[in-house]
């Protein structure tokens, strides 16, 4: 049995997507249990809209402590960073600057590693700037791909340094007609979530299988 914890923002919460990438994985685990009487692996989604790495750092420890069970293996997936890269209210710089973001991520990974060695970092996805600079749904917030790319690089570097599995998305999406994967310019649509799901599934499958 394995508990998969997802810490993230509105994208991993799957807000207004039917279903989001994390729900797709969860549904697979349920289906696997029904069809194959496999062990009950669960996905616990601790994502919430509007969260950046500073928010998540605050709650990772109490939440992991309340949830983890010594008899159950864990996998932790961080799906963080796009909100760090946001620009708010015309203020200078990003919502969470890069140094702080690096420090937050490293602390979060440290907390997660007290529970499991299987820590995965999901890359950020590019936006359709015509709709996100500023955001049509939140005019005081902007997202730009030049910013998001910086945070993508940062996540990749941290994953390497801390020996976590990195699940890349940004470069591949950027090389394709990625605006077709987006709903409101920021949040992925069905196709976008399906693509993220495929990547995450491929990354976690060996970790689940190895536990029989």
């Amino acid at each position: 049995m394995t508990d998969i914890f997802v810490f993230g923002d509105s994208i991993s919460n799957g807000s207004w997507a039917d279903p989001g990438w994390a729900d797709r994985i969860k549904n697979d685990l349920v289906q696997n249990h029904i069809s194959n009487s496999a062990y009950l692996d669960t996905l616990i989604n601790i994502s919430a809209g509007g969260k950046n790495s500073s928010h998540i750092l605050k709650f990772i420890q109490p939440v992991l402590q309340a949830h983890t069970d010594e008899h159950v293996d864990s996998i932790v997936i961080f799906a963080v960073g796009i909100n760090d890269a946001a620009r708010i209210d015309g203020k200078e710089g990003n919502w969470v600057n890069k140094n702080e973001s690096i420090s937050n991520m490293k602390k979060m990974i440290e907390h997660a590693k007290q529970t499991t060695q299987h820590v995965l970092i999901l890359d950020v996805t590019p936006v359709d700037e015509s709709k996100t600079n500023p955001c049509s749904f939140a005019p005081d917030v902007s997202y730009k791909n030049s910013d998001i790319l910086e945070y993508s690089k940062l996540l990749r570097t941290i994953a390497k340094e801390t020996n976590c599995i990195f699940i890349p998305l940004f470069d591949e999406w950027k090389s394709r007609e990625y605006t077709n994967y987006l709903d409101d310019g920021l949040h992925p649509n069905r196709e976008g979530h399906r693509r993220i799901y495929e990547k995450v599934k491929a990354a976690i499958s060996p970790l689940l299988n190895s536990k029989g």
Partner: protein, 207 residues
């Protein structure tokens, strides 16, 4: 924006509905309705397998604090009682006294964290399959479940919170057909719970 946080056990997690469980059904329906109206609200599924009131007490506040906000109308739903009705080696895992005090303190805490608190009661079990349950040393019987249903109803009345009894509905139906393994609802059972709760939530979620 309205935020609906639903805490519960493996039934809320979605076991065993291939469509994700009653909360996912609720969420998709409201996602469709609200996005077409351009209005925003969020449903969080905080169901966790194996959870009884003592385990819920450990995580409710940290999990809720992450998600509620002063800017929003926050609604907390707690599904309780199914795993507290579980017997291990013939003994109830949560004593009645402990169940009552823990549920009362959960409701009091939830009221501090949110604007509206709603409690949901346990589903019934098919005793031919849950006594014992699978290969485990654990069992459920409906006498225990209905006793918990009554305790919850009386605590909710005392603390003036809305209670949704599922057992009350099911007892008059062929509820064995709603169960996948005797304990967890199948897709039909989840659909039934979704429809009941959706109806109850209409006045709460209306724009």
């Amino acid at each position: 924006m309205k935020k609906l946080l639903i805490f519960g056990d493996s039934v809320e997690y979605g076991a065993w509905d291939v469509k994700g469980g009653w909360i996912t059904r609720l969420r998709y329906q409201h996602d469709l309705e609200t996005t077409s109206r351009g209005e925003k609200y969020i449903i969080y599924n905080l169901g966790h397998s194996n959870e009884d009131v003592l385990a819920l007490k450990k995580r409710m506040t940290p999990e809720a604090k992450v998600r509620v906000s002063n800017k929003d109308q926050n609604i907390i739903m707690l599904k309780v009682g199914l795993n507290d009705s579980r017997r291990v080696d013939g003994k109830l895992v949560t004593s009645d006294a402990k169940f009552k005090t823990t549920l009362k303190s959960l409701i009091t805490e939830a009221k501090k964290l949110s604007d509206i608190v709603i409690i949901i009661g346990p589903t019934l079990a098919d005793e031919s399959r849950t006594n014992p349950f699978l290969h485990y040393q654990i069992s459920w019987n409906n006498q225990d479940i209905l006793a918990h249903d009554k305790i919850i109803a009386s605590i909710c009345k005392e603390l003036n919170v809305q209670y949704i009894s599922i057992a009350e509905d099911w007892v008059n139906e062929n509820y064995e057909l709603y169960l996948e393994d005797g304990l967890h609802p199948n897709s039909e059972g989840h659909k039934h719970i979704f429809e009941r709760i959706n109806e109850e939530l209409k006045p709460v979620l209306k724009p």
